[in-house]
Amino acid sequence: MAVIEAIETVYLEADAANVTFSSISGYAHLQLSISGKTATSGSGTRDVYVQLNGDTGGNYSWNDMTGYSSSTSADAYAGFTHWYLGVMNGRGNDYTTTSNYGAINMIILNYTSTNMKTAPMSWSGAWGSTPMVKSSGGTWADTSAVTSIKLYPSSGSFLRGTAITIYGIKSS
Protein backbone atom coordinates (compact mmCIF):
# COMPACT_ATOMS: atom_id res chain seq x y z
CA MET A 1 0.00 0.00 0.00
CA ALA A 2 1.25 3.38 -0.95
CA VAL A 3 2.24 5.80 1.80
CA ILE A 4 1.06 8.81 -0.23
CA GLU A 5 -1.80 8.05 -2.58
CA ALA A 6 -3.60 10.34 -5.01
CA ILE A 7 -7.23 9.98 -3.92
CA GLU A 8 -8.79 12.15 -6.60
CA THR A 9 -7.72 14.63 -9.26
CA VAL A 10 -10.09 17.28 -10.60
CA TYR A 11 -9.03 19.03 -13.79
CA LEU A 12 -11.71 21.54 -14.72
CA GLU A 13 -12.66 21.55 -18.39
CA ALA A 14 -15.30 24.23 -17.66
CA ASP A 15 -15.66 26.93 -15.01
CA ALA A 16 -17.02 25.56 -11.73
CA ALA A 17 -18.46 27.27 -8.66
CA ASN A 18 -16.81 24.83 -6.28
CA VAL A 19 -14.98 21.52 -5.96
CA THR A 20 -15.90 19.05 -3.23
CA PHE A 21 -14.04 15.93 -2.14
CA SER A 22 -16.08 13.42 -0.15
CA SER A 23 -14.44 10.00 -0.64
CA ILE A 24 -11.52 10.62 1.65
CA SER A 25 -11.58 7.86 4.26
CA GLY A 26 -8.73 5.50 5.09
CA TYR A 27 -5.78 7.79 5.70
CA ALA A 28 -3.94 9.51 8.55
CA HIS A 29 -3.57 12.90 6.89
CA LEU A 30 -4.77 14.69 3.78
CA GLN A 31 -2.89 16.95 1.41
CA LEU A 32 -4.29 19.24 -1.29
CA SER A 33 -2.30 20.53 -4.25
CA ILE A 34 -3.97 23.28 -6.29
CA SER A 35 -2.99 25.07 -9.48
CA GLY A 36 -5.96 27.36 -9.77
CA LYS A 37 -7.48 30.59 -10.94
CA THR A 38 -10.82 32.33 -10.60
CA ALA A 39 -13.03 33.28 -13.51
CA THR A 40 -13.91 36.66 -12.07
CA SER A 41 -12.64 39.79 -13.77
CA GLY A 42 -11.78 43.01 -12.01
CA SER A 43 -9.08 44.23 -9.71
CA GLY A 44 -7.74 42.51 -6.65
CA THR A 45 -6.84 38.96 -5.93
CA ARG A 46 -9.46 36.27 -5.48
CA ASP A 47 -9.24 34.12 -2.39
CA VAL A 48 -9.94 30.42 -1.99
CA TYR A 49 -12.17 29.35 0.89
CA VAL A 50 -12.57 25.93 2.51
CA GLN A 51 -15.49 24.40 4.40
CA LEU A 52 -15.42 21.02 6.13
CA ASN A 53 -18.36 18.61 6.41
CA GLY A 54 -20.68 21.28 5.01
CA ASP A 55 -20.26 23.33 8.20
CA THR A 56 -21.28 26.92 7.46
CA GLY A 57 -21.14 28.04 11.08
CA GLY A 58 -18.63 30.43 12.56
CA ASN A 59 -16.27 27.65 13.59
CA TYR A 60 -13.19 28.48 11.56
CA SER A 61 -10.16 30.43 12.70
CA TRP A 62 -6.68 31.00 11.32
CA ASN A 63 -3.49 33.00 11.59
CA ASP A 64 -1.49 34.09 8.60
CA MET A 65 1.63 35.97 7.59
CA THR A 66 1.89 37.71 4.26
CA GLY A 67 4.47 39.19 1.96
CA TYR A 68 2.80 41.90 -0.08
CA SER A 69 4.92 43.81 -2.59
CA SER A 70 7.64 45.16 -0.26
CA SER A 71 5.66 44.97 3.00
CA THR A 72 4.79 42.24 5.47
CA SER A 73 1.81 41.63 7.73
CA ALA A 74 0.59 39.17 10.37
CA ASP A 75 -3.10 38.66 11.12
CA ALA A 76 -5.46 36.48 13.14
CA TYR A 77 -9.07 35.65 12.36
CA ALA A 78 -11.72 33.84 14.41
CA GLY A 79 -15.40 33.00 14.13
CA PHE A 80 -15.47 32.79 10.36
CA THR A 81 -17.69 30.53 8.27
CA HIS A 82 -14.76 29.18 6.27
CA TRP A 83 -11.03 28.78 6.22
CA TYR A 84 -8.96 31.05 4.08
CA LEU A 85 -6.67 28.91 1.99
CA GLY A 86 -4.81 31.28 -0.27
CA VAL A 87 -4.90 33.70 -3.13
CA MET A 88 -5.51 33.28 -6.84
CA ASN A 89 -5.73 35.93 -9.52
CA GLY A 90 -8.98 36.89 -11.18
CA ARG A 91 -9.31 36.62 -14.93
CA GLY A 92 -8.39 39.88 -16.62
CA ASN A 93 -6.47 41.04 -13.61
CA ASP A 94 -3.09 39.56 -14.49
CA TYR A 95 -0.65 42.22 -15.38
CA THR A 96 0.70 40.10 -18.18
CA THR A 97 -1.63 37.31 -19.28
CA THR A 98 -4.45 35.01 -18.28
CA SER A 99 -2.01 32.09 -18.27
CA ASN A 100 -1.11 32.99 -14.70
CA TYR A 101 -2.56 30.56 -12.14
CA GLY A 102 -2.02 30.55 -8.40
CA ALA A 103 -0.41 27.65 -6.52
CA ILE A 104 -1.53 26.33 -3.15
CA ASN A 105 -0.49 23.48 -0.90
CA MET A 106 -2.45 22.45 2.17
CA ILE A 107 -2.19 19.64 4.72
CA ILE A 108 -5.00 18.62 7.05
CA LEU A 109 -3.42 16.67 9.88
CA ASN A 110 -5.10 13.85 11.79
CA TYR A 111 -8.39 14.57 10.07
CA THR A 112 -10.26 11.59 11.49
CA SER A 113 -9.53 12.42 15.13
CA THR A 114 -12.59 12.89 17.31
CA ASN A 115 -10.57 13.96 20.35
CA MET A 116 -9.12 17.15 19.02
CA LYS A 117 -9.95 19.82 16.54
CA THR A 118 -8.40 19.27 13.16
CA ALA A 119 -5.76 21.80 12.24
CA PRO A 120 -4.45 22.49 8.74
CA MET A 121 -1.25 24.00 7.57
CA SER A 122 -1.42 25.85 4.31
CA TRP A 123 0.62 28.19 2.27
CA SER A 124 0.15 29.63 -1.14
CA GLY A 125 1.64 31.83 -3.76
CA ALA A 126 0.32 33.82 -6.66
CA TRP A 127 1.43 36.60 -8.91
CA GLY A 128 -0.91 39.19 -10.36
CA SER A 129 -1.27 42.92 -10.28
CA THR A 130 -0.58 42.58 -6.54
CA PRO A 131 2.29 40.23 -5.78
CA MET A 132 1.62 38.25 -2.65
CA VAL A 133 2.84 35.20 -0.82
CA LYS A 134 1.04 33.89 2.24
CA SER A 135 1.32 31.19 4.87
CA SER A 136 -1.53 30.31 7.17
CA GLY A 137 -2.61 27.74 9.69
CA GLY A 138 -6.10 27.27 11.02
CA THR A 139 -8.36 25.48 13.42
CA TRP A 140 -11.83 24.04 12.92
CA ALA A 141 -13.76 24.17 16.21
CA ASP A 142 -15.42 20.80 15.75
CA THR A 143 -14.53 17.35 17.05
CA SER A 144 -16.04 15.44 14.14
CA ALA A 145 -13.90 13.49 11.73
CA VAL A 146 -13.57 15.32 8.43
CA THR A 147 -15.66 13.57 5.79
CA SER A 148 -15.85 16.21 3.07
CA ILE A 149 -13.86 19.22 1.90
CA LYS A 150 -15.40 21.98 -0.18
CA LEU A 151 -13.21 24.50 -1.99
CA TYR A 152 -14.68 27.64 -3.53
CA PRO A 153 -13.52 31.10 -4.58
CA SER A 154 -14.47 34.15 -2.54
CA SER A 155 -16.09 35.52 -5.68
CA GLY A 156 -17.12 33.87 -8.94
CA SER A 157 -16.01 30.45 -10.09
CA PHE A 158 -12.87 28.46 -10.58
CA LEU A 159 -11.58 28.98 -14.10
CA ARG A 160 -11.27 26.05 -16.50
CA GLY A 161 -7.78 24.63 -16.36
CA THR A 162 -7.77 24.66 -12.58
CA ALA A 163 -6.19 21.42 -11.34
CA ILE A 164 -6.74 20.09 -7.82
CA THR A 165 -5.48 16.80 -6.43
CA ILE A 166 -6.18 15.47 -2.96
CA TYR A 167 -3.65 13.02 -1.51
CA GLY A 168 -4.05 10.63 1.37
CA ILE A 169 -1.05 10.03 3.62
CA LYS A 170 -0.85 6.67 5.41
CA SER A 171 0.75 6.07 8.76
CA SER A 172 2.73 3.06 9.92
Binding site: I4, T9, S99, A103, G125, A126, P131, V133
Partner: protein, 197 residues
Protein backbone atom coordinates in the same frame (compact mmCIF):
# COMPACT_ATOMS: atom_id res chain seq x y z
CA UNK B 1 32.40 15.74 -9.14
CA UNK B 2 28.91 14.41 -8.52
CA UNK B 3 27.12 11.13 -8.15
CA UNK B 4 23.83 11.25 -10.03
CA UNK B 5 21.27 8.46 -9.90
CA UNK B 6 18.31 8.51 -12.27
CA UNK B 7 15.23 6.31 -11.98
CA UNK B 8 14.45 5.09 -15.48
CA UNK B 9 12.57 1.99 -14.36
CA UNK B 10 9.18 1.29 -15.88
CA UNK B 11 6.46 3.39 -14.22
CA UNK B 12 4.98 1.42 -11.35
CA UNK B 13 1.44 2.61 -12.04
CA UNK B 14 1.34 0.65 -15.31
CA UNK B 15 1.28 -3.14 -15.22
CA UNK B 16 3.90 -4.04 -17.80
CA UNK B 17 2.16 -7.31 -18.66
CA UNK B 18 -1.48 -6.30 -18.85
CA UNK B 19 -1.05 -2.53 -19.49
CA UNK B 20 -3.65 -1.92 -16.78
CA UNK B 21 -3.38 1.31 -14.78
CA UNK B 22 -3.27 1.15 -11.02
CA UNK B 23 -2.76 3.72 -8.29
CA UNK B 24 0.57 3.42 -6.53
CA UNK B 25 2.85 5.71 -4.56
CA UNK B 26 2.07 9.28 -5.62
CA UNK B 27 5.61 10.51 -4.97
CA UNK B 28 8.19 8.93 -7.27
CA UNK B 29 11.91 9.43 -6.65
CA UNK B 30 13.31 10.57 -10.01
CA UNK B 31 16.86 11.75 -9.49
CA UNK B 32 19.42 12.30 -6.76
CA UNK B 33 22.63 14.28 -7.11
CA UNK B 34 25.27 14.23 -4.37
CA UNK B 35 28.38 16.39 -4.73
CA UNK B 36 31.60 14.62 -3.82
CA UNK B 37 34.08 17.33 -4.78
CA UNK B 38 34.30 21.10 -4.74
CA UNK B 39 34.46 21.78 -8.46
CA UNK B 40 30.83 21.32 -9.40
CA UNK B 41 29.45 24.56 -10.80
CA UNK B 42 26.33 23.32 -12.59
CA UNK B 43 23.96 20.47 -11.82
CA UNK B 44 21.54 19.46 -14.56
CA UNK B 45 18.38 17.44 -14.06
CA UNK B 46 16.65 16.34 -17.26
CA UNK B 47 13.57 14.39 -18.22
CA UNK B 48 14.40 11.14 -19.98
CA UNK B 49 12.67 7.76 -20.06
CA UNK B 50 10.68 5.42 -17.85
CA UNK B 51 9.83 6.84 -14.44
CA UNK B 52 12.10 9.80 -15.23
CA UNK B 53 9.86 10.90 -18.10
CA UNK B 54 8.48 14.06 -16.48
CA UNK B 55 5.52 14.31 -18.86
CA UNK B 56 3.57 11.85 -16.70
CA UNK B 57 3.63 13.95 -13.52
CA UNK B 58 1.39 16.71 -12.27
CA UNK B 59 3.95 18.38 -10.00
CA UNK B 60 7.68 18.21 -9.32
CA UNK B 61 9.24 18.60 -5.86
CA UNK B 62 12.92 19.42 -5.38
CA UNK B 63 14.60 18.99 -2.00
CA UNK B 64 17.91 20.83 -1.68
CA UNK B 65 20.58 20.72 1.03
CA UNK B 66 23.55 22.69 -0.22
CA UNK B 67 26.59 24.82 0.50
CA UNK B 68 28.71 26.88 -1.90
CA UNK B 69 32.32 28.00 -1.94
CA UNK B 70 31.65 31.71 -2.55
CA UNK B 71 33.30 33.92 0.07
CA UNK B 72 30.06 34.84 1.80
CA UNK B 73 27.79 33.54 4.54
CA UNK B 74 25.19 32.71 1.89
CA UNK B 75 25.45 31.20 -1.57
CA UNK B 76 21.87 30.32 -2.55
CA UNK B 77 21.22 27.92 -5.40
CA UNK B 78 19.84 29.48 -8.59
CA UNK B 79 17.43 27.49 -10.72
CA UNK B 80 16.75 27.80 -14.45
CA UNK B 81 14.16 25.88 -16.46
CA UNK B 82 14.54 24.50 -20.00
CA UNK B 83 17.81 26.44 -20.50
CA UNK B 84 15.95 29.76 -20.26
CA UNK B 85 18.26 32.41 -18.79
CA UNK B 86 16.17 35.40 -19.88
CA UNK B 87 14.25 37.74 -17.64
CA UNK B 88 11.18 35.51 -17.61
CA UNK B 89 11.17 34.59 -13.95
CA UNK B 90 9.19 36.41 -11.26
CA UNK B 91 9.43 36.10 -7.52
CA UNK B 92 7.76 37.34 -4.37
CA UNK B 93 9.29 36.47 -1.03
CA UNK B 94 8.95 37.19 2.64
CA UNK B 95 11.66 36.29 5.14
CA UNK B 96 12.56 36.42 8.77
CA UNK B 97 16.04 36.42 10.28
CA UNK B 98 14.88 36.33 13.86
CA UNK B 99 14.72 40.09 14.33
CA UNK B 100 13.39 41.42 11.02
CA UNK B 101 10.65 40.36 8.63
CA UNK B 102 10.78 41.83 5.15
CA UNK B 103 9.43 41.22 1.66
CA UNK B 104 10.56 41.87 -1.89
CA UNK B 105 9.52 41.08 -5.45
CA UNK B 106 10.69 41.19 -9.06
CA UNK B 107 8.94 40.62 -12.38
CA UNK B 108 12.10 40.39 -14.48
CA UNK B 109 14.38 37.96 -12.70
CA UNK B 110 16.67 35.57 -14.57
CA UNK B 111 16.19 32.59 -12.27
CA UNK B 112 14.43 31.17 -9.21
CA UNK B 113 16.12 29.95 -6.05
CA UNK B 114 15.76 26.40 -4.79
CA UNK B 115 17.33 26.89 -1.36
CA UNK B 116 19.24 29.33 0.84
CA UNK B 117 22.58 27.53 0.73
CA UNK B 118 25.36 28.68 2.98
CA UNK B 119 28.67 30.05 1.67
CA UNK B 120 32.33 29.67 2.52
CA UNK B 121 32.28 31.99 5.55
CA UNK B 122 29.42 30.16 7.27
CA UNK B 123 30.38 27.90 10.17
CA UNK B 124 31.86 24.60 9.10
CA UNK B 125 29.31 21.91 8.49
CA UNK B 126 26.31 24.23 8.07
CA UNK B 127 24.25 23.74 4.94
CA UNK B 128 21.20 25.63 3.72
CA UNK B 129 18.06 23.87 2.57
CA UNK B 130 14.91 24.28 0.53
CA UNK B 131 11.66 22.59 -0.48
CA UNK B 132 10.46 23.69 -3.91
CA UNK B 133 7.17 22.53 -5.45
CA UNK B 134 6.47 23.21 -9.12
CA UNK B 135 2.76 22.96 -9.99
CA UNK B 136 1.05 21.52 -13.09
CA UNK B 137 4.34 21.27 -14.95
CA UNK B 138 2.90 19.88 -18.18
CA UNK B 139 0.05 22.38 -18.56
CA UNK B 140 -0.19 25.29 -20.97
CA UNK B 141 -0.09 27.71 -18.03
CA UNK B 142 2.75 29.88 -16.89
CA UNK B 143 4.52 27.69 -14.37
CA UNK B 144 4.03 28.47 -10.69
CA UNK B 145 6.10 27.26 -7.78
CA UNK B 146 6.25 27.72 -4.05
CA UNK B 147 9.39 27.32 -2.02
CA UNK B 148 10.40 27.46 1.62
CA UNK B 149 14.07 27.78 2.51
CA UNK B 150 16.27 27.85 5.57
CA UNK B 151 19.79 29.22 5.89
CA UNK B 152 21.14 27.00 8.61
CA UNK B 153 18.87 28.43 11.26
CA UNK B 154 19.74 32.08 10.65
CA UNK B 155 17.05 32.96 8.13
CA UNK B 156 13.90 31.39 6.72
CA UNK B 157 12.19 32.53 3.54
CA UNK B 158 8.94 31.75 1.77
CA UNK B 159 8.75 32.29 -1.99
CA UNK B 160 6.14 32.45 -4.71
CA UNK B 161 7.62 31.95 -8.19
CA UNK B 162 6.35 32.22 -11.76
CA UNK B 163 8.12 31.21 -14.94
CA UNK B 164 6.46 33.17 -17.74
CA UNK B 165 6.57 30.34 -20.22
CA UNK B 166 3.85 27.86 -21.18
CA UNK B 167 6.20 25.03 -22.14
CA UNK B 168 6.29 21.78 -20.20
CA UNK B 169 9.23 21.63 -17.82
CA UNK B 170 11.84 19.19 -19.13
CA UNK B 171 15.11 20.44 -17.64
CA UNK B 172 16.29 22.04 -14.41
CA UNK B 173 19.74 23.62 -14.10
CA UNK B 174 21.16 24.47 -10.70
CA UNK B 175 24.05 26.92 -10.18
CA UNK B 176 25.39 29.18 -7.46
CA UNK B 177 27.97 31.95 -7.18
CA UNK B 178 30.85 29.51 -7.55
CA UNK B 179 30.85 25.79 -6.93
CA UNK B 180 28.84 23.40 -4.84
CA UNK B 181 30.86 21.77 -2.08
CA UNK B 182 30.94 18.11 -1.09
CA UNK B 183 27.81 16.64 0.49
CA UNK B 184 25.54 19.13 -1.24
CA UNK B 185 22.53 17.09 -2.25
CA UNK B 186 19.51 17.49 -4.52
CA UNK B 187 16.57 15.09 -4.72
CA UNK B 188 13.89 15.44 -7.38
CA UNK B 189 10.47 13.80 -7.03
CA UNK B 190 7.59 13.50 -9.47
CA UNK B 191 4.08 13.75 -8.02
CA UNK B 192 1.44 11.74 -9.85
CA UNK B 193 -2.21 12.70 -10.18
CA UNK B 194 -4.96 10.14 -9.60
CA UNK B 195 -4.41 7.55 -12.34
CA UNK B 196 -7.62 5.52 -12.05
CA UNK B 197 -11.11 7.02 -11.96
Amino acid sequence: MTTQTINTAAPAYLDQTTNVLTDVEAWVALQTVVVSGSSTSTITLQSSTGANDWSQYQDLVLLSAARGDTSSSADPTKLNLNNDTGGNYTYMFVYSNGTTAAASSSATANYWWSDDATGATAPTGLFGSGILQMFDINSGKYKQATCQTDRAGSQTTMYSFTWENKAAITEIDLTNGGNFVADSRFDLFGVLPRMVS
